[in-house]
Symmetry: C2
Subunit: 216 residues, 2 copies
């Protein structure tokens, strides 16, 4: 064995990490194999001894969120404990946080890449769906508050997190983007039965009260 055992695994992970960062920033078509390999400290020629095609790597990158058993958020300063009983509100707050908004490189792929996926292959969509369902299932299992959300509510909360962040990132005005994130976070927490009081000042709390009866 001319190279130490595990060497290839280490390098392979470096390539996936480089790809994850670059795809999140520029999308599938916006990144070349050459750039990915350069990001891993290599030249482009070696790529095809690790992956069959660029698309195969893309599918692998998509799968590394929520589904990894060692998963934790990558966003600086935001912590989520997947085994905690109130993981639901933690996920909502982390997902719609300013940190996640700004940290495009370490973004959730569902925020950074969904339209690439919608145009992509069946295996790409399968990877995406697995991540989304993992998120829904985390939200559903969260029993903090009283009883936690129904499956329907958990799906809507997840869609609100993902959709809110996607739209916020596509806006030109930062203030409007922040306002949208706040709105989605507030409503998502409400939907989960996780309240919003801790987060809000008095004035906002009154607004939250006024809002509820209108929905019944």
């Amino acid at each position: 064995m001319p190279y130490p055992a595990g060497h290839r695994n280490v390098v392979r992970k470096r390539i996936v990490e480089s790809a994850r960062r670059l795809f999140n920033r520029h999308g599938f078509d916006g990144v070349s194999v050459k750039q990915i390999m350069a990001g891993a400290g290599l030249t482009h020629g070696g790529f095809y001894s690790y992956f069959e095609t660029k698309s195969d790597l893309y599918v692998e990158v998509l799968g590394c969120f929520f589904t990894d058993p060692e998963w934790k958020t990558c966003w600086e300063g935001v912590e989520v404990d997947l085994s905690s009983r109130d993981v639901g509100p933690q996920v909502v707050r982390a997902y719609l946080s300013r940190q996640h908004f700004e940290d495009v490189e370490n973004s959730c792929p569902m925020t950074a890449l969904p339209t690439d996926v919608a145009r992509g292959s069946a295996s790409t969509k399968r990877a995406f769906e697995t991540v989304f369902r993992a998120m829904v299932s985390v939200l559903e299992r969260s029993t903090a508050g009283d009883g936690g959300p129904s499956k329907e509510q958990a799906q809507a909360i997840a869609a609100l997190c993902v959709g809110g962040m996607i739209v916020a990132r596509a806006m030109a005005d930062r203030v409007h983007a922040d306002e949208l994130r706040d709105a989605c976070m507030g409503i998502a927490l409400e939907l989960g039965g996780w309240g919003r009081e801790r987060r809000l000042k008095n004035g906002d709390f009154k607004r939250a009260q006024r809002v509820r009866p209108a929905a019944s």
Copy 2:
């Protein structure tokens, strides 16, 4: 005048229409100028007498939803009357409809193109933001039910529509995609105070009842 007056306007519109369909299907990078012009019955060389760059055309395509004074949905069999008092539930139902899900070509650009936009220029984002705010404002002005949604609720409803449809389109399993659209539609109508009874059978209605107290 060798060509009839208005000739260039007609051809220009044909190019924008062709671009709208193709961008919706394949995204900015997935479509070439040659394909756009072929879709308008022309060859690629003439493009630059109508638009300065491909990006300029993209910005123009983005702007043609909700903001057009003559706007109406393009989805076969779905009608929305923007001047109606209950335009809110109409928009929610149309946006999350099976028709809109399937008709990628005539899709709302916010569903088909948001991540392209997030990576794009400031002018692209400005066009996107205008469309989103137009949608929020339509929802907010809808007074059907009692009083209509607050701005915060209107933003969340719009994010739920857009996010739900984006995620549904990125899923591999059609059944799961349908379930997600349904969940988002139900919760969005609830959020707007537009009820869901008309849409639901008895069993579902009970579920809707059970769901509400959990949120308080």
